[in-house]
């Protein structure tokens, strides 16, 4: 597989390095609507930061401001210690983006797509040819090189978008819903490749509604809602602190659930009722209550996860903008 192209210079001491991305007080207004409200965050070298939030939370606007596709109303953005948008040409030369919507050239073949994109970065032709070769192998696209984009599967297109984003050996990779709409096989292949890139030290900014994907890839998460940062930190830590250790989900009639809810008050746990369902978020080991549950209809016991944290912080109501 690819040895040369995807390697970054290794930096042993992360703390002394300036952040790859440093955002302070970032704000965006569209008319009267405040879409991004005074956001600050850093992305350190080699980290993968998961950017989460319900639809309309301001994630995409935020990323587009980093890329200069949306003008900021206020605040400061520094990427690679360069001020944006003033040095956007230099900044974007060192960023790779996997956009949410497919923006491949449908009339061109797989290889022509990559050659054309390498041209935009002014990568010398020989070097481009070599990188394209390596990336086609890395993403298992080498035997589809002459295929027209229309004939590719969803997974192949996504892999090609990833390959395209890596042509310029980016120091920061921005992934906007990288596995949306893919089958499990295709998603796993992409995760595996992203894990290799991470091991090689590529810094990543990931947005996704698949919270299992975020748990798998990110060392840091940042949850946005209504244009503000609700919480940021290490995901496991946040889950333990804010949700608990494990979750019991119980189905039953109102009377049954009332009785169970009373029993669970003996344990350090928070409870939530949604329709015919009781959620118990246990902050300590509540094993001793399992015998009470045995009498209830159907229940599951599982570790608390990022989805619980997400729902807790942003609520259960639908967001339709």
């Amino acid at each position: 597989m690819s040895q040369t192209i995807l390697q970054q210079e290794s930096v042993p001491d992360l703390s002394s390095q300036p952040a790859i991305v440093s955002v302070t007080g970032l704000t965006k207004r569209f008319g009267d609507r405040l879409v991004v409200d005074n956001i600050s965050f850093d992305i350190q070298r080699g980290q993968c930061v998961g950017f989460l939030g319900p639809n309309g939370a301001g994630k995409t606007t935020c990323i587009n401001m980093l890329l200069g596709l949306v003008e900021k109303s206020a605040g400061e953005i520094r990427i690679f210690d360069l001020e944006a948008p003033r040095f956007h040409r230099d900044i974007k030369a060192r960023i790779g983006v996997v956009p949410q919507a497919d923006s491949l050239d449908p009339d061109l073949s797989v290889e022509e797509n990559l050659r054309t994109y390498a041209g935009y970065f002014r990568i010398p032709r020989r070097l481009a040819r070599q990188r394209i070769e390596e990336l086609l192998h890395f993403f298992a696209l080498h035997n589809r090189r002459d295929e027209i984009i229309e004939h590719l599967s969803g997974g192949q297109r996504r892999r090609l978008l990833l390959a395209r984003a890596l042509l310029n050996e980016p120091q920061l990779l921005i992934l906007d819903e990288p596995t949306i709409g893919l089958d499990p096989q295709a998603r796993h292949l992409i995760w595996e490749r992203l894990a290799i890139l991470q091991a090689q030290g590529t810094t990543m900014l990931l947005t996704s509604h698949y919270l299992d994907e975020v748990s798998r890839l990110s060392q840091q998460v940042l949850i946005l809602d209504h244009g503000q940062v609700v919480v940021q930190g290490e995901p496991r830590q946040l889950i333990t602190d804010m949700v608990g250790l494990e979750v019991f989900e119980v189905d039953g009639t109102a009377a049954e659930l009332d009785a169970l809810a009373a029993s669970f008050r003996q344990c350090n746990a928070t409870q939530e009722r949604v329709g015919d369902k009781l959620y118990v978020y246990a902050r300590e080991d509540c094993s001793r209550l399992v015998k009470v549950l045995g009498e209830a209809g159907s229940w599951v016991r599982r570790p608390a996860n990022l989805e619980d944290l997400f729902i807790q912080l942003t609520g259960r109501s639908l967001r339709e903008t």
């Binding site: 596709l69 040409r89 030369a93 050239d105 061109l108 970065f121």
Partner: protein, 252 residues
């Protein structure tokens, strides 16, 4: 170096175009050639000479200019709008070091190149109709390119304003078709009544049609300089406006 970054966008469009050469050439050249045949050969046989030329000779240079206009304007309306919306090509390009200025220049120069190609092919075909251009015709080439820049920029302005493909009907029906009919391709503008003549001479295709006729036959019967300066100014303004409007559309 950076000043020529737009060239990579030109190359991208060329790469796509190569795959459908025949269809685009027929689309761009069909109309002017059919007009030359029907009006010049069919209608012109029974007509008295116009401004000292047979009718076919009279309309041939103007049809060359119209081929440039159609080819350039259609490229940056239907073609560019597809790249802007359906294919998201512009979005992909703006994620690279290229900016809106590169994008606008790349698209306009590409449209002008396509227009110029259509014009050159028309010129090469003219001898088949018995029209022999003078050596001055070489000086016409940069003027055709300039006119291609102007109409590409106009098309891109429409693209920046368009909400859907139907919007381009306004442009083709209310701008391009009237220009085709009233810019002196089919009748001499100079002999019209003064107020009408004044209006027609202000149309952006009129000076190019006149220049095409002058340079095609090497007959300098009209002043040339003002036409060139006017075309340069109009092109500069159109390119600037296309850049301004496309930036407003792409960068929120």
């Amino acid at each position: 170096m950076n000043g020529f970054s737009f060239w990579t966008i030109w190359l991208r469009n060329g790469r796509v175009w190569k795959k459908n050469i025949l269809a685009t050439l027929i689309g761009n050249l069909g109309q002017p050639l059919l007009f030359l045949l029907a009006m010049g050969y069919g209608l012109g046989r029974d007509m008295a000479p116009v401004a000292g030329l047979t009718y076919l000779q009279f309309i041939a240079p103007g049809l060359v200019a119209s081929a440039v206009m159609y080819s350039a304007a259609l490229e940056t309306t239907y073609g560019s709008y597809t790249r802007l919306t359906v294919q998201k090509t512009y979005e992909a390009i703006l994620m690279t070091p290229l900016g809106v200025v590169d994008l606008v220049l790349g698209e306009i120069v590409w449209g002008a190149s396509k227009g110029m190609l259509a014009g050159v092919i028309m010129l090469l075909v003219l001898p088949l109709f018995g029209v022999m251009p003078s050596p001055w015709v070489v000086a016409l080439l940069p003027m055709l390119f300039l006119s291609g820049m102007f109409f590409s920029a106009c098309g891109l302005i429409m693209t920046a304003l368009a909400k859907n493909y139907d919007f381009f009907n306004y442009f083709t029906s209310l701008v391009i078709t009237p220009l085709f009919l009233f810019s002196g391709i089919f009748f001499p503008v100079q002999t019209m009544a003064p107020p009408v003549r004044g209006v027609l001479e202000m149309l952006p295709l009129t000076p190019i049609v006149s220049l095409a006729r002058i340079l095609c036959y090497g007959r300098f019967d009209e002043p040339v300089l003002m036409k060139i300066i006017g075309s340069l100014l109009a092109t500069g303004c159109a390119v600037w406006l296309a850049g301004y409007l496309l930036r407003r559309r792409l960068i929120q």
